[in-house]
């Protein structure tokens, strides 16, 4: 009796798996059915945010900017007269490639008109192919890798590539009188690309790079003591830290071993964040960091805080907002909400064909209804998209850390983005 049951078990299991597969296949076909209906219906604003993983700290700012954009678009009457809907998913970081693709697939299954994000260049690389194949335009608010310029006609970004940030940072370091610079950089494409530009600019301005011109550390590094003692042995005037969340451990170790983490430390957009909960007050006061993109205006910050009370880090919020608005305007201009139409009209609404400048979705929508060419001038201060999908103009914000270890906006530099 028992024997029979055991013999039957594999059969039952196989049948169950087959049934499950058929059910899944059914799901797939039904979703493609709904997709055709949605392409003729409402604009679907898709988004991929880092809600987990090492970039999770960027999540709140992006999410609230996304919600604000949705609210503003719908308040002005939606796209083509219909309120828009959203589809979001968590993409985590590049260490979780499975989560990258499953997040992208989950949003793609909702047949979005556009996908905002992901913010990380490495994650973009993992997902852009499947998104482009689905003919859905993708607008990243934070992917700054130079390698992504023109990578696909469906890839756009509202943030300038790193070549620009590195040039500004290199000059800021040089003008502060640093003669010997040590660079602690993690072995990630973001880090090494940015490092190369900083090294080039700083050396041209007369700064000697004493550590880190070639050396890197592992992104999964946990023990920073050997790295810091190596850096300390080169006796640098200042240290540039290019990393993500590893910064917390690295900076504490630097301070513990006696390197100056105050006025003699520089950071980049990957780690210029709010450290008030992580460090004792004053640990990094006076340190300098750069973040590409305009500093969100006070009014914009207040609007975001109304959406998400207690928001303190605004990195990439303006870029997320502008990307969402541009995509909605592109659909409005093209008269359809499918990805191909949005992709074709994105450059035009960003001002590539000139046109009347307008600052809000409502104003731009009114101009579009009068069949005028528009140039959306948003929060991020970017120029029109060039043919590589990069912004043609951008600004880099320079921040100084306050006594409670929060980055405070100091000034910003504007300029043209070189087309690489």
């Amino acid at each position: 009796m028992n024997n029979v049951r055991y013999k039957k078990l594999p059969l039952i299991a196989t049948a169950a798996v087959a049934a499950a597969l058929m059910a899944l296949a059914g799901c797939g076909s039904s979703s493609s059915g709904s997709s055709s209906s949605s392409s003729s219906g409402a604009f679907v604003l898709g988004a991929l945010f880092p809600e987990t993983g090492s970039l999770a700290y960027l999540g709140p700012a992006e999410t609230s900017a996304f919600k604000l954009a949705t609210k503003d678009i719908n308040a002005a009457g939606g796209v083509l007269g219909k309120p828009i809907t959203t589809a979001t998913a968590d993409v985590s970081d590049a260490d979780h490639a499975d989560q990258n693709t499953s997040g992208a697939q989950s949003v793609l299954s909702k047949n979005p008109s556009v996908i905002m994000g992901p913010a990380s260049s490495s994650v973009v690389k993992n997902v852009y192919k499947s998104i482009s194949e689905a003919k859905v335009p993708q607008i990243s608010m934070g992917a700054t890798s130079p390698a992504l310029s023109g990578v696909s006609p469906y890839f756009f970004r509202t943030v300038p590539p790193d070549s620009v940030q590195g040039a500004v940072l290199g000059n800021v370091i040089a003008q502060d009188g640093v003669r010997k610079l040590a660079i602690a950089v993690f072995n990630d494409e973001y880090g090494t690309n940015l490092r190369d530009v900083v090294v080039k600019t700083a050396e041209a301005a007369g700064v000697q790079v004493v550590y880190g011109e070639k050396d890197t550390f592992d992104p999964t590094e946990t023990n920073f003591a050997p790295l810091v003692s190596t850096i300390k042995a080169t006796n640098p005037d200042a240290t540039l830290v290019i990393a993500f969340d590893q910064t917390k451990q690295l900076v504490k170790e630097m301070s513990s071993q006696g390197l100056d983490t105050k006025t003699k430390m520089y950071m980049t957009d990957g780690n210029t964040a709010d450290y008030s909960k992580d460090f004792t007050p004053g640990l990094i006061t006076g340190a300098t960091g750069t973040i590409p993109g305009a500093h969100p205006s006070d009014a914009f910050q207040a609007k975001l805080k109304a959406i998400q009370p207690g928001l303190s880090d605004f990195t990439y919020s303006a870029e997320t907002y502008d990307g969402s608005i541009l995509a909605a305007l592109a659909a409005q201009k093209g008269g359809a909400v499918d990805g191909v139409t949005v992709q074709k009209n994105l450059a035009a609404v960003s001002g590539a064909k000139g046109g009347t400048e307008c600052k809000t979705y409502k104003d731009c929508l009114a101009l579009l209804k009068e069949k005028k060419e528009i140039h959306y001038v948003g929060q991020a201060g970017i120029g029109p998209f060039n043919s590589n999908g990069d912004p043609s103009k951008a600004s880099i914000g320079v921040y100084k850390f306050s006594a409670d270890n929060k980055p405070v906006y100091d000034h910003s530099q504007e300029g043209a983005v070189p087309k690489s």
């Binding site: 003591a225 042995a233 504490k252 170790e253 071993q257 880099i396 504007e414 300029g415």
Partner: protein
């Protein structure tokens, strides 16, 4: 005739241009609008869409600011300024083009600067050219030779000699640095090895008594660190109380998983290979649970940074020394437990031959339960110490350290108590010392290379006993 016409054509354009400059200047700053000169000396200059910057810090060879020196700007636009208390000077310029900043040749000479003039190219719309930094020095040639800024021929000659002398001095200092680094890296290697030993001892005990290589041991370490974080940051306990809290939670988790998972699996005679796969699954479940509850970022157990002090040739801090002391005491304690107490002897008996131990009246299940509790409590303690030493703990810290633990116990000899200590120290020291010679991010490779070599020469590990086959 043509010249006149050209002049006529040019003149209004220039008028228009200078008028535009004036307007722009008026627009950006009402303060400096009194003069018609386009370039302006300013305290701090930041490039915007409408102005570029030529600026710098005037420092002597020893990086002391040169105060009150006159800097003259010429080129497209011209202006004059003096350096402030920190040696800073800045000009805001409006036209794109070449600018030359000049200081008095005597000043340059007095302060050992190589040049007294430098030309920069300003282009407002180009990020790399909108700010021109002028330093009047060349890094690496900081040794001041008094004749450095004489005539062109002598300066070139002396500069080559000065650069040669710098080279030798820098290689000297590199040698001194190397000596200091050897001690520093050896020290950090020993500390890291001790922490690793504390983790590995527990893992090795489990392996010794049950034959199970626990892949979820790393998560027990993470659990300890995260519980200390909960204790200090969320429940506002003092650190020592949080550490005890973490150890109790760790021990409880050991007891719980033995009762719920490992004891039933052993009763059903599930093979150690299958049990090992279960530990891998458990490891993944725990990792993602941690991430779910604590998020993906690094959690600092303490926000304060212990300021380091010099102890002979090494820099260290109190927390590290205390952690190391705790690790040593606990490892000695465990060794004492294994060799001097009744239960410890029973553990070793089970470790040597479980069937024989059982036959001679030792309650094997009881011993295994104690081993699980002890192992997880040790892991929790090491998680706390590691979290403090590494300045933070994340959901995957344990998983990252797991392979090093495996290497350490394999190197020392699987299932031997002392082997874990020695193996961990070897891994820690070799890894940290190797960053003297090879890139820092490759240092664990050297430690694992040692592992392969040792196993080739001594397959049972440093402390393992040769197993008799058959």
């Amino acid at each position: 005739m043509t010249a006149v016409r050209r002049k006529l054509r040019k003149y209004p354009a220039r008028m228009l241009l200078s008028a535009m400059f004036l307007m722009l200047l008026l627009a950006i700053s009402g303060v400096w609008s009194t003069t018609a000169q386009a370039a302006q000396p300013v305290p701090v200059c930041n490039p915007t869409g409408t102005n570029g910057c030529v600026n710098g810090i005037l420092q002597d060879a020893n990086r002391n600011p040169v105060v009150g020196a006159t800097v003259t700007l010429s080129g497209k636009e011209s202006a004059t300024t003096t350096t402030d208390d920190t040696g800073k000077w800045a000009f805001s310029v409006t036209a794109d083009g070449k600018y030359t900043a000049t200081i008095d040749a005597g000043v340059a000479k007095d302060h050992g600067l190589k040049a007294n003039a430098e030309t920069v190219d300003i282009e407002k719309s180009d990020f790399s050219k909108q700010r021109g930094v002028v330093r009047f020095d060349k890094p690496g040639e900081t040794t001041s030779s008094p004749s450095a800024s004489g005539s062109a021929s002598t300066s070139s000659g002396s500069s080559s000699s000065s650069s040669a002398s710098t080279q030798s001095s820098s290689s000297n200092s590199a040698g001194a640095n190397f000596g200091a680094r050897v001690w520093q890296q050896l020290y950090s290697g020993i500390i890291f090895g001790l922490m690793l030993a504390l983790m590995s001892v527990g893992m090795n005990l489990v392996y010794g008594t049950t034959g199970l290589s626990s892949f979820s041991h790393g998560e027990q370490v993470t659990l300890g660190g995260l519980m200390a974080y909960v204790g200090v940051q969320l429940l506002h306990m003092p650190l020592w109380a949080a550490a005890i809290f973490a150890i109790i939670i760790g021990a409880a988790s050991g007891l719980l998983q033995n009762e719920l998972v490992w004891a039933p699996l052993r009763r059903k005679h599930v093979g150690t290979m299958q049990q090992m796969i279960v530990t891998i699954g458990l490891s993944m479940v725990l990792q993602y649970l941690f991430q779910f509850f604590f998020g993906g970022n690094v959690k600092g157990i303490t926000t304060a940074v212990d300021q380091g002090f010099q102890l002979g040739p090494i820099t260290t801090d109190t927390a590290t020394l205390v952690s190391a002391a705790i690790a040593i005491i606990v490892i000695i304690g465990v060794t004492f437990f294994l060799y001097r107490t009744r239960l410890g002897r029973a553990t070793r008996a089970v470790s040597d031959n479980a069937a024989l131990a059982s036959a001679s009246g030792i309650n094997v299940e009881q011993v295994v339960r104690v081993v699980w509790i002890l192992s997880c409590a040790l892991a929790a303690l090491s998680g706390v110490l590691m979290g403090i030493y590494l300045n933070g703990i994340a959901w995957n810290t344990g998983a990252v350290l797991l392979l090093l633990m495996f290497s350490a116990v394999t190197l020392g000899g699987l299932g031997t108590a002392n082997g874990a200590l020695v193996g961990s120290l070897v891994i820690g020291i070799v890894a940290d010392m190797s960053s003297l010679f090879i890139p820092n991010d490759m240092r664990y490779a050297s430690a694992l290379a040692i592992l392969i070599i040792v196993l080739l020469l001594r397959p049972q590990g440093l402390f393992g006993k040769l197993q008799r086959v058959g």
